[in-house]
């Protein structure tokens, strides 16, 4: 029958989907190598791994977490602007609990803090989910409410101050090491893996893509879209809260004002760079992780190649635009056509074109 040729064909397509984000990441990393010859070097010091690539993974961990939740929200055709505020609230609650505890360094206190943060996140996610799925508020508006209000709530919790704490077990989450690796990397990797498993080895992924791809048809096919969509916002809030714990743990402080500021925009960008359409439907967890790493690598690159701070944002914007253009099949086709026209007779190679664009 026709089975044999089709399955590898499908695999080639998925591979293709991740090809461009992976290529961009590789180019960015290689560009760093040109400026920093030992960029890929990783040392083992005092039983801990150090190196630029480790740093990228470490500092990128919160963004990866937030982006994972964002991916599922966007797959349903929604968007979650409130993740930054959730990051701040989670960090503030955890640090407040620890700072007020009799023994900040005890495991019980830290677990309590984590529990409070995650529990609150579930409530925040539910609020978003109910507004979007049951009340029918547009996602961008519904989550904007919490984005604005949540920042205020975080400042109320911290009383407008920065709460600093000293708690060894809490420090592990964002700044500690386990098996020689920064714990944050392991945690975000684990969540990414679980998300991929949860969506792809159950039918959750298919149902989410169906709801995002055609909500009307999904209702007529008997999918409980309301429940699914609500669930996705809870998941997004949980991911954001974990990221909040990570951020506050890394600096041993909660800053209601600045923790997770604008992270929602980076997360949306990571999802889009990863190949998930803002219109909803098909999503890619792997693509999102790559997208988040691209953004983090970009931030690192800005420092390593010595871009003056005042032009940092312009540089970032330029690279992001380039990345988005390269991902567009239409743009690639146009570029290939023009290239072919200029060098008549030479077969246009998209890969070289890409390199030229990024290097420019």
């Amino acid at each position: 029958m026709t089975t044999a040729p089709t399955t590898p064909g499908a695999r080639a397509v998925t591979r293709y989907r991740l090809f461009w984000p992976a290529a961009v990441l590789a180019v960015l990393l290689l560009a760093n190598l040109a400026f920093t010859p030992d960029f890929f070097a990783v040392h083992l010091k005092d039983g801990h791994l150090y190196g630029s690539t480790i740093d990228i993974l470490h500092f990128g961990a919160p963004l990866i977490l937030v982006s994972l939740g964002m991916t599922l929200v966007i797959a349903t055709g929604g968007i979650d602007l409130s993740v930054g505020s959730t990051v701040a609230i989670a960090g503030a609650l955890a640090c407040l609990h620890i700072s007020e505890a009799a023994d900040p360094a005890s495991l019980g206190t830290v677990l309590g803090a984590v529990g409070i943060a995650l529990g609150t996140a579930v409530l925040l996610g539910l609020a978003n989910g109910v507004l979007v799925a049951r009340v029918g508020v547009q996602p961008i508006i519904a989550t904007l409410i919490l984005m604005v209000a949540g920042r205020g709530v975080a400042q109320l919790i911290t009383d407008g101050q920065i709460i600093t704490i000293t708690s060894e077990p809490y420090k592990l989450i964002g700044g500690g090491y386990w098996l020689a690796m920064p714990f944050a990397i392991l945690l975000s990797g684990l969540v990414a893996l679980l998300t991929a498993l949860l969506t792809r080895s159950t039918a959750l992924g298919l149902l989410l893509e169906s709801v995002g791809g055609n909500p009307v048809a999904s209702r007529l096919v008997g999918i409980r879209a309301m429940r699914l969509v609500g669930l996705v916002y809870v998941f997004s809030a949980l991911c954001a809260a974990l990221a909040g714990l990570m951020v506050s743990s890394n600096v041993s402080a909660a800053d209601g004002n600045n923790a997770g500021l604008w992270i929602e925009l980076d997360a949306i960008l990571a999802v889009v760079i990863g190949g998930t359409s803002l219109n909803g439907g098909r999503f890619s967890i792997g693509g999102t992780v790559l997208g988040a790493l691209i953004i983090q690598t970009l931030s690192t690159t800005v420092y390593t190649i010595g871009i003056p701070p005042e032009t940092t944002l312009v540089f970032k914007a330029f690279v992001v635009i380039t990345v988005c253009l390269i991902q567009s099949p239409n743009f690639r086709a146009k570029l290939a056509r023009r290239g072919a026209g200029r060098r008549a007779g030479v077969r246009p190679s998209p890969a070289t074109t890409t390199n030229r664009e990024v290097g420019a």
Binding site: M1, T2, T3, T6, T7, G9, A10, V13, S201, T202, A203, L204, L206, L207, E209, S210, G213, N214, V216, A217, S218, R219, L220, V221, G222, I223, R224, L228, G281, R282
Partner: protein, 507 residues
């Protein structure tokens, strides 16, 4: 009528890739008349209107407006030439005031600024000429759809008053609102405006129109005085009698319809109704029985079926399934009771275009199982391949994106999706529309076979021949009412169904 027509169209031709939408159509519109444009879906009504309003340029033929040959290059030119259109959905800004809507884009000005007092004064004047009693400074959306439509007409007439095209203005209006609209239309007619009226409601046509032009399959069927063509003749001219064609394709004679084995109804609906979509109707469907629904477009065929599937919420009436009263609150409830529904809008209400054939096929079954009990990939592949084979879906690649398939193959994917859920009642809304004859015959055969094996089927189609070939009984709908249920005992002819549709009573 000895007058000169205000608008005359001669030999107009319009082609779209692969289809001739209008083929040498002539059409005349006289000042001071209400003229109906009649035809079934795809007859070319909307194409003709779009040519007249400059949305589509004609490929051939000529348009004569007030004695002069004109070339309508766009909607703006049409408006300047004196042709205004009011569409089914109101094309105004609901957040602006009535007066602003009437004068938007051509506001009265003084010293470069909008003269609000003048605008209100003139708006009030215009509204009064149509004896509408509304406050012109109130926002448009504070009024009903009917009034909004009338405001659109006021605007259209004020912009250019020669020809007014009303495209299905009554489809969302209730009885009183229709009467109000008709009063306004008569007044405009008496002022000498030529009105082109499109509606699916035969009674309304006969109430308001002086003449009518009937189109069929892109050709002119004829122009008639309303008083000289009765409803039965009109309907048969709209639908035409192409009885022989498909019967031969399906393999000679009409299928012998043996009575279903069981006498107990699988589903009984009693007084089922929803305000504004379908009047109370009774319907019983037995296992192994095919019940057809016939009626013109907009007669309530789809609406009746959607109530049985819980896709729309009923206002009144009861549904019994296997004798037990059941409240179908959502499609999910209906599916749990073994009901499946293939919508007539494959793209918008059926398939998820960016998913693959396999994913679309397993979707209903997977939704019923819930996300936590996934079908294994092997099981999915097996199901997909089996049904791709059984229904001959092409290309036979389960990983092809469903949006890239042809209409007929998409329809088969949709059928496969429901058939793997093993439904007890299958509701098919226009399953053969827009697909080629071969696929059509295959689907018809499939429906007959499924019923033979004991499935109850509700079969909706605009093609009477098809309905009669498959159904044991035929429910006839007209103007959102089930007017008759006819036994298909071998003596039921399309003509008799047509007569029932036209007269609104069993013939």
């Amino acid at each position: 009528m000895r007058q000169q027509p205000v608008l005359e169209v001669r030999g107009i031709r319009k082609e779209f890739p692969g289809v001739v939408a209008l083929d040498g159509v002539d059409f005349r519109l006289f000042p001071g008349e209400v003229h109906a444009l009649m035809g079934e879906n795809g007859a070319g009504k909307s194409t003709l209107i779009k040519v007249l309003t400059g949305v589509h340029p004609a490929d051939g033929g000529e348009v004569v407006l007030a004695g002069q040959r004109v070339r309508i290059a766009g909607p703006l030119q049409a408006q300047q030439a004196g042709i205004s259109t009011v569409y089914q959905e109101v094309n105004l800004c609901p957040n602006l005031s009535v007066a602003e809507n009437i004068f938007i884009g051509r506001e009265p000005r003084r010293l470069g600024l909008i003269d609000w007092a003048e605008m209100r004064r003139r708006a009030t004047e215009l509204v009064c000429t149509l004896e509408l009693d509304i406050d012109v400074s109130a926002p448009l959306d504070s009024y009903s759809i009917a009034v909004q439509q009338l405001v659109a007409i006021v605007r259209a007439v004020d912009v250019s008053a020669k020809v007014l095209i009303l495209d299905e203005p009554t489809s969302s209006l209730d009885r009183d609102e229709v009467r109000q609209l008709f009063t306004v239309m008569r007044r405009l007619r008496d002022q000498g405006v030529a009105i082109l009226f499109v509606s699916h409601f035969l009674d309304q046509i006969y109430e308001i129109c002086d003449r009518m032009t009937v189109l069929r399959n892109g050709r002119l069927e004829g122009e008639y005085l309303t008083s000289e063509l009765n409803q039965v003749e009109l309907v048969s001219r709209m639908i035409g009698s192409e009885l022989a064609g498909l019967d031969q394709l399906a393999g000679g004679k009409r299928r012998e319809r043996s009575a279903p084995a069981t006498d107990r109804a699988f589903l009984e609906a009693e007084g089922l109704a929803r305000q504004g979509s379908v009047e109370p109707y009774d319907l019983a469907i037995r296992s192994g029985e095919v019940v057809g629904l016939a009626g013109l477009l907009g007669s309530g065929r789809t609406e009746a079926a959607r109530l049985l599937f819980g896709a729309d919420h009923k206002d009144r009436g009861t549904v019994r399934i296997n004798g037990t009263e059941t409240d179908l609150r959502s499609p999910r409830d209906a599916i749990a009771h073994g009901i499946a529904f293939c919508s007539e809008n494959r793209k918008t209400e059926g398939l998820v275009g960016e998913l693959t054939v396999r994913e679309n096929i397993v979707l209903a079954l997977q939704a019923a199982r819930g996300w936590a009990r996934p079908l294994s990939r092997t099981a999915q592949d097996k199901l997909a391949l089996r049904w791709i084979g059984a229904l001959d879906i092409r290309p036979g690649n389960p990983e092809a994106l469903v949006r890239n398939l042809s209409g007929g193959n998409q329809q088969k994917v949709l059928l496969a999706r429901w058939l793997i859920t093993d439904p007890k009642l299958l509701i098919l809304d226009e399953p053969t529309r827009g697909i080629d004859v071969g696929a059509k015959a295959e689907i018809q055969k499939l429906v007959a076979d499924l019923a033979e094996k004991g499935m109850a089927v509700l079969f909706i189609s605009a093609e009477l021949e098809e309905v009669l070939r498959l159904s044991h009984r035929v429910g006839v709908l007209r103007d959102r009412r089930m007017v008759a249920q006819l036994r298909n005992d071998g003596e039921l002819t399309p003509e008799r169904v047509l007569a029932t549709i036209a007269s609104g009573a069993e013939q």
